[in-house]
Symmetry: C2
Subunit: 491 residues, 2 copies
């Protein structure tokens, strides 16, 4: 496919006075209206002014034009392939959810930032901010008939409502993998390996990406020893997660003033998250966390067996911003330190009981957004260029359109992808230009002379230069085997 756009097959009027009334890309509606008003004053009709409509999607959202969609499909297919390779099953749910599902696990920024509304039947609903509560709801709706463990994945679009900041979107797609029913760190390990499996698959190495691993359970020991309960702990994690943004002092202030911790305890928490190794962390947390430390150590040990240890880094400062995590948490990061977190996950053993599960059901999972990974892959030159392709373009001589359709049907009968030029009788240079634009391998010319001989002339557009390209007259009755004629020729 040529990189410069070819001339239109059907002419679209050049920009004129009339199309000042549409809102071009990169122009605000306001600007366009202003322009339109100006035009109206010059004698433009009221009707024309009213024709202004925004061609942009809602604020903070993305359109996927075919060239974007090919990249998105490529990314999603990598996510699907890895998930499948690691034994996960895909599920999905409506993008609309009951608000109640998120209110239940309060204390998070995400609740304030939801894209929520009240529908015409007074239901409080929202575009889902994340997938985990939906997963929890779905698992619970079947908890009596389900066989655990479950290994599920999904690629939902998730939404939030933020006052628009530069480059921050209101929607993104997020690969989610979750394991339900396993309390051992073997589940965390499987999820970490799946994540690494994806990175390797798209050509990233452990020099590009690392995964910081920590245990909230160990941090909780620090607080437990100081008499702080589980609810406060969840709030502490949400606050500590912001330390890079707001600084140590502000985090301590919030813990003391907003959560009600003693200053000494708050400082001990911050000190603990600054620990440089598991050993140091353990010594700050004290004896009560021996088991949790052993879990982290086993995780790192097994990571060696799995061949993913070079991707993992212990980091006591990673707590993640979600209130519902209870155990191991992790965060994939760009080793160059230029990008935001690539993905994050953790154990959330108490979420399902919060929703009404009769007993605790251990869960662990991760979310992996599409925006940062695009940036990283682009920056590393790993985002593939995927042109549109077809095997054949069929072009009809004037008055031969019916025959061209027979040819198209014949070629497709073998499974080939075929694009018919929808206007017969175009000049040959236009036919070639069209074939070039749609990325055709071969072009079939349906013309009277060959047709009378029961044949179609097909030209290979991939071999040699334009002069030396192979062309073969292929019997109409044998079009299903068209490709093999070229293969034989090539031998």
């Amino acid at each position: 496919m040529s990189s410069t756009p070819a001339a239109p097959e059907v002419a679209v009027s050049a920009p004129s006075a009339a199309d000042k009334l549409v809102v071009p890309e990169g122009m605000s509606k306001k600007q366009a209206k202003k322009l339109a008003k100006k035009a109206a004053k010059k004698g433009g009709a009221k009707q024309e002014f009213e024709n202004v409509i925004s061609f942009d999607p809602p604020s903070g959202t993305r359109d996927f034009f075919p060239e974007d969609m090919r990249v998105r499909n490529w990314l999603f297919s990598q996510w699907r392939a890895v998930s499948t390779q690691y034994g996960f099953s895909e599920y999905d749910a409506p993008v609309l959810e009951n608000e109640d599902l998120y209110k239940r696990k309060a204390g998070e920024e995400i609740v304030e930032q939801m894209y929520n509304f009240i529908d015409k039947e007074d239901h409080h609903v929202t575009l889902r901010p994340e997938m985990t509560p939906t997963l929890a709801r779905m698992v619970l709706s079947r908890v009596r008939m389900s066989v655990l463990p479950l290994k599920w994945f999904s690629i939902p679009q998730c939404w939030r409502f933020e006052t628009t900041q530069r480059g921050r979107k209101r929607e993104h797609y997020q690969w989610n993998c979750d394991i339900v029913g396993i309390s051992d760190i073997t589940a965390e390990l499987e999820l970490l390996a799946t994540m690494v499996g994806f990175f390797k698959r798209v050509g990233l190495t452990s020099a590009d990406v690392g995964i910081k691993v920590n245990s909230r359970a160990i941090l909780q020991s620090v607080l437990k020893a100081s008499g702080v309960g589980a609810d406060e702990f969840a709030k502490v994690c949400v606050v500590v997660d912001k330390i890079d943004k707001v600084g140590r002092e502000e985090v301590v202030r919030q813990m003391v003033e907003d959560i009600g911790l003693d200053t000494a305890v708050a400082e001990r928490v911050v000190d603990a998250t600054a620990a440089g190794s598991i050993e140091e962390f353990k010594s700050i947390a004290g004896e009560s966390c021996t088991e949790d430390v052993a879990d982290v150590e086993r995780l790192f040990e097994f990571a060696k067996n799995y061949g993913i240890d070079d991707w993992l880094v212990f980091d006591a400062s990673v707590v993640r911003g979600l209130a519902y995590y209870t155990g191991i948490v992790w965060e994939a990061f760009d080793r160059k330190g230029e990008l935001r977190a690539i993905a994050g996950g953790g154990r959330y053993d108490r979420l399902l009981s919060l929703y009404g599960a009769p007993s605790e059901i251990p869960c662990v999972g991760f979310g992996f957004g599409d925006c940062v990974i695009y940036e990283l892959l682009l920056e590393r030159g790993l985002l593939p260029e995927i042109p549109h392709r077809v095997d054949f373009v069929v072009a009809a001589y004037k008055g031969m359109y019916g025959q061209a359709l027979e040819v198209a049907a014949g070629l497709r009968s073998s499974g080939a992808t075929v694009d018919v030029m929808l206007e017969a009788g175009k000049r040959v240079d236009k036919q070639f230009r069209y074939a070039d634009r749609v990325g055709a391998d071969k072009i079939a010319f349906v013309a009277p002379s060959e047709w009378e001989a029961g044949k179609v002339r097909i030209k290979d557009l991939r071999t040699g230069d334009s002069e030396a390209r192979v062309q073969i007259d292929i019997p109409v009755a044998d079009l299903a085997n068209a490709k093999s004629y070229f293969e034989k020729q090539a031998e």
Copy 2:
């Protein structure tokens, strides 16, 4: 995979007094609350009562559990494959759209039934009711740089807000194919062929499904001759579309009272839509529609060349319910007459100028929902059963979990799909049951005796009966070639 569910690998508590508080599938929230209150009276704590949460998705929407998702993925992959085979490019856009986009093309039921709301920044937005306006918006945003014709497809989820009726959903997925920039019926024909391509691909024949074809342009001639304009015509089509539901009399009444037509004209319209053939239709419409009739005749002629003529039926009564159609319209239907319309499409040459295009841009397209086709395929026995599958399950002997991970990594290095049993040291019957549940082809037992010899015992679960199944001890260093050991054995 066995059809009966195996026992849980991790026990989930049996239903007890406590889980009267959750809302089981098939029970309303109200019923569950009632039950919970009852339990509370018997001494249940207030806190337990508050734990009730609905496990259902919002009213009129669907969850896709893995078994549903496999079917959905299968259907979408058929749609994608056919679209690609016919040269269409995939695109997508946010499920949220500006309401303005739909208000612009008023006069449709769809506007009243939108799932719309005002967001926190006072934008009037809606979950998209259909994809065509979005396509129009996207095409217009690039009209100056775009090369026509465009052939685009998408599989959006579309939403509507209806007071819930039996079996009517508020969301569905809808395959959309559109061609922009071609005013000839060659575009209609390509879309009809694409639709037929899908039907054939999934095993349906022209004895199962037909496609009714009509021309709104011809009908318009009837009205034009009586001095009725284009705006009234769009309204007439929306009314006439309901004739099967509300009857001839009511349709005439609406045309007279709501649109302001003379009774004689209204009756002439209804008569025209009852025409049994193109000839009859033409004689009712009169001379002014010669060209439009010729178009329909050419369409049916070319359909023979394309080999899709046995799928098409001329039907003057089909006008489709969307106001924006201007020319040929069509509707795929179940020949048994038991199901609602399967899909519908048509030409809409004026939509883009309505949105502000500087000149008319011809468009034609169809929408094809996922609900009716599921019903039809199920009824015809054509909906495939797609079990979850993996190539290998790896099961670890007690204390051998690290080695099991090495085995899993080795097997995956060839691209095989591998599920690791996340708990080591389970009894052999549990290991087999797990392998059965996840649809494993083979199971690898990681046990000390073989491991000492540098090997792993792998058993083929697909060959012979359970006694006679092939098992081979494969060197750990050669696990990437595990499958080939079994292939050699089979020779």
